[in-house]
């Protein structure tokens, strides 16, 4: 049970306060981008390429211009006049806004149709006639690396291959030596498939340029409004847009998961058209465009190796990655490392040697990737280590739980330096796994499994004990275009003791309006219900880098606590003045200061705030406001112990997830109900790639599942009953000891599921399955082994 320091009325940390934002959502009063209607607004639709790789010979817009309501058709040649046909990516690569001569992937933007209604824009799009000269695309990333592969990025002078970058970390020589001398080495190729966030709201914007005042208001579905404002100023500065004349507004957002971090071509075209027409331009993607063209996630081909002793001691790991980035590296990766935080792949285990290398390659696929509920490449890393650890346990015939217990970093060894250089801040991995094993009844399940196996029934138990790395991030390791990855809070308390607080982050469903209010309530004793939270408007909110990578609580949440503490310092001064005692004689108790030894002599926070406006000490500034920009000293390292039980229908290959226990350590918990909701959602987004989701392309680069009829996003029906629990080891360097939780379940659950499936199939010599593990794949594997 969580101990609360505040009453339910105040609802500080630990209270399962109902989400403040839900009142408007449940009344249908949420305000999303597509709800916005401005006078004279035009609508945009985008014609897209049916081919993965083709020369554009001609674009005929004449029929489209005849469609009633169509006012313009914009092509790459039009944007070229303003040097807006290409844009930089966050990874210093380049991406087409609209092509002038070549399309590089199926569903790439080719021409934008502007019309007076959404319907006319769609009809206009149908009437745009493009003549293509189709070329043979490069789809397989391994083939793309061949010396004789056609060079895709011919726009880059001197580019002679499809290689983007090489990255490595760790001690190569030492690792090689450990592997050479090791008793047991296991090696496994695995593919972490290309997937899509598929948030319930697609991307969109309304670009509203005011010619008279030379002012742009950009309403858009972005997780990082402030960074976007700066990007627009940097990219569009040459056409006269200056940062003080740009306002970015993120309204309510229906899920982001990383997919609303990138700047997509549609946004830029909408701005350009509004700039040229002087009218507001709305662009809302449809579902298929969102799935087919927006940034993907994952797509890592990994060779994982682990060296250890026959007695079960892990000694070293080695990982080799081939990253398929599509036609440009448009990663939404804010770290200074090409592979983001993949170097967390050493996992939760105590050994001192690892080596990792990665290469990235261009192919004729959509660009990316995004950090889908993952602070960049942590999901891939966790999958690699948790899968290869299970392979190792299987190889030496040791129970995977026992193997993990034997190799965990001990709680007394924190802070712990990983072989790749991270300083893990805190954790108690033994306690987490023990709790998960007790909750699920691990020993009884193993006994049941033995009985089932005698009868030829397929039952499996899978474990994942992962370490996450979130809260980007410390300025030494993170920046976006040079801007450090701090985040901010500004608290303003009104004379009657009610407050408004603004943040540089942006909720997409995480419940910030409640969570932040509870942090401030905890620190100041003002009821959370009386604290209004605002985000998403760059004209009013303090500068921040946005919400993704589970960073809001670690950064902006910390900023809220520190800003509130600044206010408490001021409150102490005012209370001392009002009570006519020295500051040192005052004691803080939630919501009031009282005189040491005389608790009846006290001033409530509301009285103190009122005095800040009406009766403050001479020489003190009036008002009750504070701002803080928080640059985290380290990342936070949430962890989890997940156990999954599956039953498999031998005849059909159908997989039934019977149980799933998730024990998370996200440090101190602010709102248990919100955390549980985050974990449920995250786990469901974990079974998605484990059993359902993958973007599949044929050799011509056609997407084979470009609609939700075939791209299988799991629903409540597919979701098992999640059993959740916690171990709490507070982050020692975070002001309120919180670590962040949004990503953990998505990052940690896929290997638990696939480990369970492989465990079920292991009596037949099956050692690995690539995700998503579908009934067909299971049936095929069993057939190959002669079982069905």
């Amino acid at each position: 049970m969580i101990q609360c320091k505040t009453s339910k009325e105040i609802s500080g940390m630990g209270h399962s306060m109902k989400r403040k934002e839900d009142v408007r959502f449940l009344h249908g009063k949420g305000h999303y981008i597509d709800d916005l209607k401005l006078p004279g607004m035009l609508y945009m639709d985008i014609a897209r390429s049916p081919y993965a790789y083709a020369k554009i010979k001609n674009i005929d817009i004449s029929e489209a211009m005849k469609v009633p309501g169509v006012v313009a058709v914009v092509t790459g040649k039009d944007l070229e006049k303003y040097n807006l046909h290409w844009m930089p990516t966050l990874m210093s690569d380049t991406q087409m806004v609209l092509p002038t001569d070549t399309v590089m992937y199926q569903a790439q933007e080719v021409a934008a149709v502007i019309a007076t209604s959404r319907y006319a824009a769609r009809d206009g799009r149908e009437a745009v006639k493009v003549e293509y000269e189709v070329m043979k695309p490069v789809i397989d990333p391994f083939k793309a690396m061949h010396a004789d592969a056609p060079v895709l990025r011919t726009d880059k002078p001197g580019k002679k291959d499809n290689h983007i970058w090489h990255w490595e970390v760790g001690d190569k020589a030492k690792t090689e030596k450990v592997f050479k001398d090791a008793e047991v080495v296991v090696k496994q190729d695995m593919y972490i498939p290309r997937i899509h966030v598929s948030s319930i709201e697609t991307c969109g914007c309304v670009a509203d340029y005011d010619k008279v005042n030379n002012h742009l208001t950009m309403y858009m579905t972005t997780q990082a409004p402030h960074a976007i404002r700066t990007v627009i100023a940097l990219v569009a500065g040459h056409v006269g847009l200056s940062e003080e004349k740009i306002r970015v507004v993120s309204p309510d957002i229906g899920g982001g998961f990383g997919g609303k971090v990138p700047v997509y071509p549609g946004y830029v075209i909408a701005i350009a058209v509004s700039f040229l027409t002087g009218k507001p331009v709305k662009w809302i993607e449809d579902r298929s465009e969102n799935l087919q063209a927006d940034s993907f996630a994952r797509d890592y081909h990994i060779t994982a190796e682990l060296a250890g002793t026959r007695a079960g001691k892990i000694q070293a790991t080695r990982f080799k990655v081939l990253a398929d980035h599509g036609y440009t590296d448009a990663s939404a990766n804010p770290s200074k490392f090409h592979t983001g935080l993949f170097s967390i792949a050493t996992g939760s285990y105590d050994y001192d040697t690892a080596y990792m290398e990665a290469d990235a390659v261009y192919t004729n696929k959509p660009p990316g990737g995004v950090a889908y509920r993952c602070s960049f490449r942590v999901t891939e890393a966790v999958h690699a280590i948790e899968r290869i650890t299970d392979r190792f346990a299987f190889e030496i015939g040791m129970d995977p739980a026992r193997l993990r217990m034997k190799n965990f970093i001990k709680k007394e060894d924190f802070p712990w330096k990983s072989p790749t250089g991270w300083i893990y801040d805190s954790g108690d991995y033994h306690a987490g796994l023990k709790k998960a094993m007790e909750a699920i009844g691990y020993d009884a399940l193993r006994k049941e499994q033995i009985e089932k196996r005698k009868k030829g029934e397929l039952m499996g138990i899978g474990i994942s004990t992962f370490t996450e790395i979130v809260g980007a991030g410390p300025s030494k390791d993170f920046d976006i275009l040079g801007i450090k990855m701090f985040d901010s809070a500004e608290i303003r308390v009104h004379p009657t003791g009610k407050a408004i607080a603004r943040f540089g982050t942006k909720s997409q469903g995480q419940g910030h309006e409640t969570t932040y209010a509870q942090i401030i309530a905890e620190e100041l004793g003002i009821p959370a219900a009386n604290i209004q939270i605002e985000e998403g408007d760059t004209d009013t909110a303090p500068y921040g880098l946005g919400t993704y990578a589970s960073r809001s609580t670690p950064t902006a949440g910390a900023a809220a606590a520190v800003a509130a503490r600044k206010l408490r310092d001021k409150a102490r001064k005012i209370a001392a003045y009002l009570l006519e005692v020295s500051e040192d004689d005052l004691v803080w108790e939630t919501g009031k200061f009282y005189v040491k030894g005389a608790p009846e002599k006290s001033k409530t926070i509301q009285e103190i705030v009122f005095a800040a406006y009406t009766n403050h000490p001479q020489g003190m500034q009036a008002g009750f406001e504070a701002t803080h920009y928080y640059d985290p000293p380290n990342l936070t390292f949430p962890s989890g112990a997940y156990i999954c039980v599956v039953d498999i229908d031998k005849e059909t290959g159908a997989i039934h997830v019977r149980r799933f226990v998730a024990i998370d350590d996200c440090g101190h918990i602010i709102n248990p109900m919100i955390v549980q909701g985050q974990v449920h959602g995250g786990l469901t987004q974990g079974i998605a790639p484990a059993m359902y989701e993958e973007l599949i392309y044929d050799e011509d680069g056609n997407i084979l599942n470009g609609t939700l009829m075939d791209y299988l996003v799991p629903t409540a029906v597919e979701s098992p009953k999640w059993e959740t629990g916690h171990v709490v080891t507070p982050s020692p360097h975070h002001p309120i000891g919180a670590k962040g939780v949004g990503e953990s379940p998505t990052v940690g659950s896929p290997p638990a599921i696939v480990n369970a499936i492989v465990d079920a199939l292991s009596p037949y010599g099956i050692k690995h399955m690539d995700i998503p593990v579908t009934p067909f794949k299971v049936w095929k594997a069993l057939k190959e082994k002669g079982v069905v």
Binding site: R122, E126, E651, Y692, T707, D710, T715, V717, E718, F776
Partner: protein, 290 residues
């Protein structure tokens, strides 16, 4: 996700609806539940110029028993089929099938008539109606005619309905005592089309001999398929594992599935065999009151 523009008509009588069909010919489509047609229009796979909405025509939604026949009005919603006590009494298969048709929102709107008239072998009711040996009633300007279900499906999205006819009723003979029915489909997730689906209705006598049987297959053939050889493998015979295995084998041989993201042709044939076996057993258990 925006359809091509079209003219919307909402006739109040069957005669008006048929007159509109005759007037607009091939350019018109009937709208009932809309859960197949509207998505196709949004993807612009279907581009009718006239949409004739029959939801405003009274008297097309009912489930009743008359003289040994159960009659289901074409506009009956899947949810009504799912919760009908009359259907539960005679045909446990309807509880099986409706629960597997998409989700509650779709079932509240989607109709049994639309499910059949769409002529899609991936829909679930065609196989069920084959197992139940139903008759479809088509209404045109000259009155109504009966079409046995075996003669209803012609090809990909094509049925025996003429351009100026509307499917108005489904008639199913009430089976004798000792009858059971069952349906199952394998699907990748809720709302998916079947990887394979099998519908079975059979009647057994006191000795366990199969006196009547219908087996329909979902989404493993270009048009809805009745597994005739499988039926013959069991008709007049004792329902035992040997005969069931033969029926399963015949069905897997006689269907003609195509490989897709759900699985290979081989996998689908294997699944047809597994499902025929399981559904025959389940229907037999129900027939024998187990």
């Amino acid at each position: 996700m925006i359809p091509q523009s079209f003219q919307y008509e909402s006739p109040g009588t069957m005669a008006d609806a048929i007159a509109l069909l005759e007037k607009h010919g091939d350019e018109a489509k009937i709208l009932s539940g809309g859960h197949s047609l509207i998505p196709m229009m949004k993807l612009r796979f279907a581009t009718p110029e006239y949409l004739i909405d029959i939801n405003g025509i009274p008297g097309l939604s009912y489930i009743r028993e008359e003289k040994g026949t159960v009659k289901i009005g074409a506009l009956s919603r899947e949810a009504e089929i799912e919760h009908s006590d009359l259907l539960k009494k005679h045909f446990p298969i309807f509880a099986d099938v409706t629960k597997l048709i998409a989700d509650p929102q779709v079932r509240n709107r989607g109709t049994i008539g639309g499910n059949l008239a769409h002529g899609d072998a991936a829909n679930d009711h065609p196989a069920v109606m084959m197992a139940l040996q139903a008759t479809v009633i088509a209404t045109g300007s000259g009155g109504s005619r009966s079409i046995p279900i075996d003669e209803f499906f012609f090809g990909f999205y094509t049925t025996a309905l003429k351009q100026n006819e509307i499917l108005t009723e489904i008639q199913i003979p009430v089976p004798p005592a000792g009858t059971g029915s069952a349906y199952h489909k394998l699907e990748r997730k809720v709302g998916d089309y079947a990887t394979a689906g099998v519908a079975v209705q059979l009647t057994v006598d006191g000795k366990g001999v199969c006196k009547a049987i219908g087996i329909g297959l979902t989404n493993v053939n270009p048009i809805p398929l009745r597994a005739v050889r499988s039926e013959q493998a069991l008709l007049g015979k004792v329902i035992n594992s040997e005969n069931i295995a033969l029926a399963a084998q015949f069905a897997s041989e006689d269907c003609n599935p195509s490989a897709d993201l759900r699985g290979s042709e081989e996998y689908k044939r294997a699944m047809v065999a597994v499902l025929v076996k399981r559904m025959v057993l389940k229907a037999a258990e129900r027939a024998m009151g187990k």
